[in-house]
């Protein structure tokens, strides 16, 4: 497996894992709270734990991969890898635009309400875009060569 594909798998797995835990917990907090107004302190702690977990996992796994990869496999991105990443980013950006647009509509139609939910919708759109990006990179490396 190429070095870039391994790196994409790490980021894909970490974002997927953190998102799979964070967003359902956030949604549950909304649904089970009175008037859909969950505790701000709880939501803040949840977000902080998710961010810290994401950063620590990314750093540990990427640094570990770097040191366990032979130097000749760690060469800079070549033209094909740059092209794969550019195409994956383009597709991920489209998904981000769509969700950001939906969020904007929600904010306009419900001003002042659901602010925390809308904020998390933006974070979700970023997470989804990153998952799509790394998923496309993995696909191109795995099935297009």
């Amino acid at each position: 497996m190429p070095f870039r594909e391994k790196r994409a798998w790490i980021s894909f797995a970490v974002i997927g894992l953190v998102s799979a835990v964070y967003f359902p917990m956030m949604l549950t907090a909304y649904i089970t709270s009175e008037n859909f107004q969950p505790s701000f302190a709880y939501l803040s702690e949840l977000a902080l734990v998710a961010i810290v977990a994401f950063i620590i996992l990314e750093i540990l796994l990427h640094v570990g991969l770097y040191f366990f990869t032979p130097p000749d496999e760690r060469m800079p991105k070549d033209e094909r890898e740059r092209l794969i990443e550019a195409e994956a980013t383009r597709i991920a950006y489209i998904s981000f635009m769509v969700l950001a647009f939906i969020t904007a509509i929600l904010i306009v139609h419900h001003p002042g309400r659901l602010s925390w939910f809308n904020g998390n919708l933006v974070i979700f759109s970023i997470a989804l875009a990153e998952l799509i990006k790394y998923g496309m990179i993995i696909y191109q490396h795995r099935w297009s060569s």
Binding site: P2, D78, E79, R80, H141, S144, S145
Partner: protein, 70 residues
């Protein structure tokens, strides 16, 4: 990156040049082994620069290494 109209005979040239590996060729032209594999399988069309570098490694003119088919 799908099948392209450009074909090549890089695999045969590698075999004729002391059984050069994809990794060795990749190192000489500045691309990964996977990219060399993708080029040989006609899954990826290299840039002009890389194409010229590959031809230079084998000491052949460009059109003897890469062929364009409609």
């Amino acid at each position: 990156m799908t099948d392209v109209g450009i074909t090549n005979n890089i695999r045969e040239l590698r075999a004729a040049n002391g059984d050069m590996t994809q990794q060795e060729l990749g190192k000489l032209v500045g691309v990964t082994r996977q990219t060399v594999n993708a080029i040989e399988a006609n899954k990826y069309s290299p840039s002009l620069e890389v194409a010229f570098k590959i031809a230079k490694v084998f000491g052949k003119p460009l059109e003897e290494v890469f062929q364009y088919k409609k």
